[in-house]
């Protein structure tokens, strides 16, 4: 499989604090890779680096064969990387459908003058955006259907907001989807649903997925490969079993001596 995303010795330092330290990792086309690690390990910073929120202080990020280092976030999104947020960042006062439609901006074209004149091309594009949004929302079955489309996003429940964030991210037509703790704050049944959904996203949407998750049941259920971070350094990589039994991972989560006492 071809490598879709590759990080080459990527470092990120805020003043004297190094959050990500010479990280090498890669994600292959069609893979689901999980990133785990204790709080403050640098997982979300990793996402921010890949999506261009931060520019790495060292190293290079290559997406689909081209360096994306130093590009603005919207350019990176237009190249095919979309993400969700750990702390939800929906457009709360816009309707559910509009949230998803807005994300189609990057791959649509109608400018100011065509909008003012309502040219046939602009109207067709607008219909396509609407159809795309409805298709993306329909992916979540009845959860985000029908009457909810015209409701403001703030009226949604927490779990539905997480689903809407995923729908919005997929509306940018990405190749790589970054999910930041998709199961956070969900009940066991919803977590189960999300686990199935992530596999479904790959099968039906054809997305390559990089996911940060704390819930080990989810990680076990979805991952082709797991990468463990601690203090910005990759401490383990491999299948879920390999990583879960790695002494360094256990140490990072439970502290030194945890293995001996057991």
């Amino acid at each position: 499989m071809a490598t879709l995303l590759e990080l080459k010795g990527v470092s990120m330092a805020f003043g004297g604090l190094t959050c990500v330290d010479a990280l090498d990792m890669h994600v292959d086309e069609g893979e689901i890779v999980s990133v785990i690690g204790p709080n403050g390990a640098g997982k979300t910073t990793l996402f921010n680096l890949v999506t261009g929120v931060y520019e790495p202080t060292a190293g290079d990020i290559v997406f689909a064969g081209e360096s994306i280092k130093g590009l603005t976030p919207h350019k990176i999104t237009q190249r095919g990387i979309a993400r969700t947020f750990q702390t939800l960042r929906l457009f709360l006062n816009m309707s559910v459908r509009e949230n998803v439609m807005a994300a189609a901006y990057g791959h649509t074209k109608a400018g100011v003058f065509r909008s003012m004149l309502r040219t046939p091309g602009m109207r067709r594009e607008e219909r396509e955006i609407r159809a795309l949004a409805e298709k993306r929302l329909a992916f979540f079955g009845e959860r985000l259907m029908g009457y909810r489309w015209d409701q403001p996003a703030y009226s949604l429940s927490y779990a539905n907001r997480r689903r809407l964030e995923i729908a919005r991210a997929t509306a940018t037509n990405p190749r790589l989807l970054l999910l930041d703790e998709p199961a956070a704050g969900m009940n066991p049944k919803e977590t189960q649903e999300i686990t199935e959904l992530i596999s479904q996203l790959r099968e039906e949407g054809g997305y390559t997925i990089l996911v940060i998750e704390h819930d080990m049941h989810v990680v076990e259920g979805i991952s082709d490969r797991v990468v463990a971070l601690d203090h910005g350094v990759k401490i383990a990589e491999g299948t879920f079993e390999q990583v879960a039994t790695s002494p360094r991972v256990v140490e990072a989560y439970l502290g030194t001596g945890a293995m001996e006492r057991k």
């Binding site: 999104t77 003012m116 009845e142 429940s157």
Partner: protein, 477 residues
């Protein structure tokens, strides 16, 4: 709902009902049930009818100026309402448009460019300046952006005021401005401002035409991917950027749109006026336009128009002391009806205030006859009642200042005490308000109308915090 059944999809009550609630809310707002184009048509028909009904020059100028303010408000709405960018330099663009017209259509440089060409030039100049002024928005947001744009406004004022000697070159005519502007020429037909003392109502139709074009154009832009992106930008800039929207460009675009509309409006405004002077573009004007937008509902284009009409007509009506008196007393009455619970207490408070007034009037009259005035026999009943009720000293002197301060103190007292004390305090407060009105405020309409505008804003904001037609917005949930 028991766990065994599992969650019943789509039946959680609050969400299911929210649609219903919105619907019920809409029933109360008749405006929402009329389609947008019909509302616009209604507005256009109403405005277009005014010059047909009356050829009173004053009324027609007020209609023209109201349309100018409508344009300013919908332009500001693009930047502030849709883009979410606090732009305090907005009036500078209005000024730039007015000066563009003045420079291109007067003897200042001997230029007499065709008026529609001037409008086009204004739009381009305004949009380019908007792009330039929008640049700080890449790095600044909120209050910081507001301060920087306020400086842009100051730069404009300084340039306009000192523009009679820009390195020895007279661009703006300085404090005296540029006078004797050409009238608007409509494809070679000059719209002479006044024909034999009668206002040329074609100006109203010209302004109305431009208003409709701008309104529809902005509406169409808002209902496109650009408008959606603006709203997304206002909601969450980082999320918008990460969802593929070029936020820096969108901010500039919002600034450019607002500035272009303001500059176009400025040119149109200048075409009717004798001249263009720096002091026209005062901070008061900026605040008035903001007041219109906030009153109508930030983010709502219809609201902006409504706010502009309400505020401007309100301000103009208050120039006449007879009208302003009515507005004052009716406002107080409405405020009482809205605030006082139970409602029957309003009658009690009013009766007590009337009785209190007669007692005070009688005592004051008994002590010194010059403290009260009596209306002539030909005065109407309201005036006679007021003169028999409110103490109006022939030589008020310090009493006015004391009463003003006393009124403020009493109002504050009313807001701090509770229960029966509040009712008791309300009676002298109302009476003192009438005293202050009759002795000070009605005599000085230029100040009073802004005080009353403030009162109107406060009352509307209490009842509808997001403006008359503004959508309720949720910040953090």
């Amino acid at each position: 709902m028991s766990e065994a059944q599992g969650p019943r999809i789509g039946e959680d009550e609050w969400v299911a009902r929210s649609g219903e609630n919105i619907e019920r809310h809409r029933l109360l707002r008749l405006a929402d049930r009329v389609p947008g184009w019909a509302r616009l048509l209604l507005f256009v028909a109403a405005v277009a009818a005014i010059p047909l009904i009356t050829d009173d020059g004053y009324i027609n100028v007020v209609v023209f100026d109201t349309l100018i303010f409508c344009l300013l408000a919908i332009g500001l709405n693009v930047v502030v309402g849709w883009g979410g960018l606090l732009d305090l330099g907005y009036i500078a663009f209005f000024g730039v448009g007015a000066y563009t017209y003045a420079i291109l259509s007067s003897e200042q440089f001997g230029l007499h460019v065709s008026s529609f060409a001037v409008l086009a030039i204004s739009v381009v100049v305004g949009a380019l300046l908007g792009l330039l002024v929008g640049l700080p928005s890449w790095r600044l947001s909120g209050d910081y952006l507001a301060i920087v744009t306020l400086f842009v406004y100051q730069i404009f004022i300084s340039l306009a005021t000192n523009g009679n000697d820009l390195f020895g070159f007279d661009l703006t005519g300085g404090v005296n401005g540029i006078a004797n502007l050409d009238p608007f020429d409509l494809f070679g037909r000059e719209l002479v401002v006044a024909k034999q003392g009668i206002f040329n109502s074609n100006y109203v139709y010209l302004a109305l035409g431009i208003f409709v074009v701008v309104f529809v154009a902005l509406y169409l832009v808002n209902h496109s991917r650009i408008g959606r992106a603006w709203r997304a930008l206002r909601e969450d800039e980082l999320a918008a950027e990460l969802m593929g929207m070029p936020t820096d460009w969108l901010k500039l675009l919002a600034f450019a749109f607002g500035a272009a509309v303001a500059a176009l409006t400025g040119s149109l405004f200048a075409s009717l006026k004798v001249g263009v002077f720096p002091e026209t573009f005062s901070l008061t004007l900026l605040i008035t336009v903001y007041a219109m937008l906030i009153l109508g509902g930030v983010g709502s284009q219809t609201g902006a128009v409504l706010g502009a009409v309400v505020v401007y007509v309100f301000l103009e009506a208050l120039r006449d002391p007879d009208v302003s008196g009515w507005v004052f007393y009716v406002t107080i009455l409405l405020a009482l009806l809205l605030v006082v619970r139970p409602r029957w207490m309003v009658a009690g408070v009013l009766a007590a205030t009337v009785a209190f007034g007669f007692v005070v009037h009688a005592i004051a009259g008994a002590i010194d006859e010059t403290w009260t005035t009596s209306a002539g026999p030909d005065a109407d009943s309201v005036t006679r009642f007021l003169d028999a009720w409110v103490v109006i000293p022939a030589t008020p002197g310090d009493a006015r200042a004391i009463a003003y301060i006393g009124l403020i103190a009493l109002v504050l007292f009313c807001t701090t005490v509770k229960g029966v004390w509040r009712w008791l305090a309300l009676v002298p407060t109302l009476y003192l308000a009438a005293f202050v009105w009759e002795n000070i405020m009605s005599a000085d309409p230029d100040v009073t109308r802004f005080v009353l505008l403030g009162a109107l804003l406060v009352s509307v904001m209490v009842i509808r915090p997001s403006g008359i037609l503004g959508e309720r917005r949720v910040e953090i949930v």
